[in-house]
Symmetry: C2
Subunit: 438 residues, 2 copies
């Protein structure tokens, strides 16, 4: 790579491409903010790409490092952790630079005072950033301090508060349109009122943790986030092209493109074999960015369609999260030193120690084939059950597998789920609803 001229090195070409698109934004003012956001996305990708290797040593020195458990004994080394904080910070910086662009039409007017400026849109934007910034901070604090669960639930809930206020005062609707088949019973629409705010608050808490619990193999956190973000970008583009009223999707698109940029660069370094780990910082950052775009873009229900694997993984994990089935400290797959492949990891316990609901759950997963249940090979009086994660389920279906292939399979699942989501959202959506969905 050292032999290439400087402008052909991939990070420099990205930087040049990004800057050119950004400059074009000044010339073509009708789509100026899209171009500015797209340009900044490339610039952010380039900066993230080159900054991560530059700061890795600093992270290891600060004690932010871990050993990759899924590697051969001989290849084990210190990998810098919480590197998502680099991507997140560059994202914040880029978005700060983007703000004047989003409102340039109003800022450039001389002496216009308070009247012309769309304060409601500006406040929505800033509230979104505030929630994102809070979650980056919380994620980083979690990586450094290993916070308790109660801390991890309190701050996301509160950080969602400004978002909800913004939703209320910018006239956000709490009315959901019902599917045609339900209208004879419940009417055309249903005003959920305060329930809708509770739903949105829970959405941001769910999103910040959803990426975090589908984790444990190289590249999976950044990979799934990139797939979701790109899917949301596609959805927003469809909405912007196809509908009259699409301000929310404009905002979402401009927030998501730079996110795709930093995430792609992070994924490059986090891909198998990982040179860096993304940390809780990245998982929280990605989750809250999705929640913010969903809420401010007024497509919080559509958002859930794109999170189907995460929702499935969360629901699947519930028996272990709530201790119906014993939950080991780590649930990531187990590395087989002899074959170099990943196999299922198990929770081991005496069946008699389970509660009644616990035994019911065990029967269900055995019958449905969601988990592998076997007597413990060393102590046959104990029972082994494969951990309740989508990752173990994939290994159960395809057998022991190489780590890189496993990540690829799960990301393909995520892509398939996005295609399904778009299919539900558009062609099928029209079968159940007689007007476009929000």
């Amino acid at each position: 790579m050292a032999l290439l001229p400087w402008y052909q090195r991939p990070d420099n070409s990205l930087l040049i491409l990004g800057s050119s698109i950004f400059l074009l934004a000044f010339a073509i003012s009708s789509v100026g903010h899209y171009l500015a956001s797209l340009g900044l996305a490339f610039v952010a990708a380039s900066l993230t790409f080159r900054l991560i290797p530059a700061v890795s040593e600093m992270f290891i020195k600060a004690g932010l490092s871990g050993i990759d458990l899924n590697k051969h004994e001989k290849l084990k080394k210190k990998v810098p952790e919480a590197i998502g904080v680099v991507a997140a910070t560059i994202y914040l910086i880029v978005i700060f630079l983007y703000i004047p662009f989003h409102f340039r039409a109003y800022l450039l007017v001389e002496q216009q005072g308070t009247d012309g400026f769309p304060h409601d849109k500006f406040v929505a934007f800033i509230c979104g950033l505030l929630s994102i910034c809070c979650m980056i901070f919380l994620g980083f604090a979690d990586d450094v301090l290993n916070l308790a669960w109660r801390h991890k639930l309190l701050l996301p809930t509160l950080a969602a508060l400004p978002l909800l206020i913004v939703y209320k005062v910018t006239g956000g609707s709490t009315t959901v349109i019902l599917p045609i088949f339900a209208r004879p019973f419940l009417g055309h629409t249903l005003d959920l009122g305060v329930l809708f705010y509770i739903y949105m608050g829970m959405l941001s808490v769910f999103c910040t943790n959803a990426i975090n619990i589908l984790a444990g193999v190289n590249g999976i956190e950044a990979g799934q986030s990139l797939v979701i973000a790109v899917s949301l970008v596609v959805n927003s583009i469809i909405q912007i092209i196809g509908t009259e009223y699409h301000e929310g999707h404009q905002l979402a698109l401009c927030l998501l493109m730079p996110f795709c940029g930093v995430t792609a660069a992070l994924l490059w370094h986090n891909w198998y074999p990982s040179n860096v780990f993304v940390g809780d910082t990245f998982c929280y950052f990605a989750g809250i960015t999705f929640a913010v775009t969903g809420i401010l873009g007024h497509f919080s229900k559509t958002l859930l369609l794109f999170l189907m694997p995460q929702i499935f993984n969360f629901v699947f994990s519930v028996p272990q999260l709530f201790k119906l089935i014993p939950c080991p400290r780590h649930r990531l797959p187990k590395y087989d030193q002899s074959t170099g492949l990943l196999t299922m990891s198990y929770a081991t316990f005496a069946t008699s120690s389970l509660s009644r609901p616990g035994r019911l759950v065990l029967d269900i997963v055995r019958v449905t084939g969601l988990c592998h249940v076997r007597p413990n090979p060393e102590q046959p009086e104990l029972t082994d059950v494969s951990n309740f994660t989508i990752i173990n389920l994939v290994i159960k279906m395809v057998g022991p597998i190489h780590e890189e292939k496993l990540t690829t399979y799960i990301l393909m699942l995520q892509v398939a789920s996005s295609v399904l989501a778009l299919a539900i959202r558009y062609p099928f959506g029209n079968m159940f609803f007689d007007q476009p969905l929000a």
Copy 2:
């Protein structure tokens, strides 16, 4: 303390007092938001007071700890560092809870849509919080990772951007009223235009670093911040009582009271002999809170009056910060193991190694008595000069001194400077200006 009934333990009494005031806010709606902020200030103080000892062990485990250099060899122990992050997080949480209160008059109106709500005030509030949150995050990252100077200047500058946009779009004036004596030459007022924005941007960078460089003895960072915050509270109360148009000061007051609460509780634990260190997190958090209240409260010039010791200390430090005079890694005073007192710390160098301006600076501080200059006791061909800080200057004036007494002296200096600031601002201000100052 264990013998006291639970409601007489100081932290519980604070909590009860705070909650009662908070509840009163519902009853007395005309001053409701002041009462809510005051009540939350006590609640925040109580939470900070009890949470700090509870999490100290967690910080030490995470490697966030240091040794207090100014203690006797026998008393040296690991002290948790960056504990300011606890105070700052509680501050954020409390302010999130406060937001609906600040706007309750508008939020409680049913079905009012977008029109009635004061979006411009809401956005100012949220922008302030965004800047504060960014700086807390940067401070914590600095404590954990020991960032380079260029990182520490970039983010505060960018984090000020939303604040400046808010200032512009809420019709903030860039016109300064000139003192009477200057009017014959420059006119009644002077519109600084874009220069005023640059000034405000620099103000937030200055504030975030001002507390940080007047540091190094137990209790000094939290102590000076508390004095400044209380002074700003007094100033805002004077303005609210004495003037017609005081919305900015209302906002400032409600942001500053909870800050006083968390800072007082932090100071309790940070006072000599320190059980915790506040870290860069607290210094940045305190500085940006002052900058935000000054800018949003439209009293950014008055703010500088209350920061006189910090400005003096910064200007005094410039020769060392810009390497005209060699700058050792630490400039904090030196502990004398035999007497238990603090003495001046020195920078040692060969006079011939100094640049021409460096030698000029050395002559100036020698003649004015700002620094102690002497031949190095061990190598008389080298020169010692006491480090360029206000702390060393105080030791130079009063002689070797106990650490607790030193902190008290410097805080008294800060109080005296606040009294002087109020005197300049009000009685003297009227001599030079014929209308109230902003």
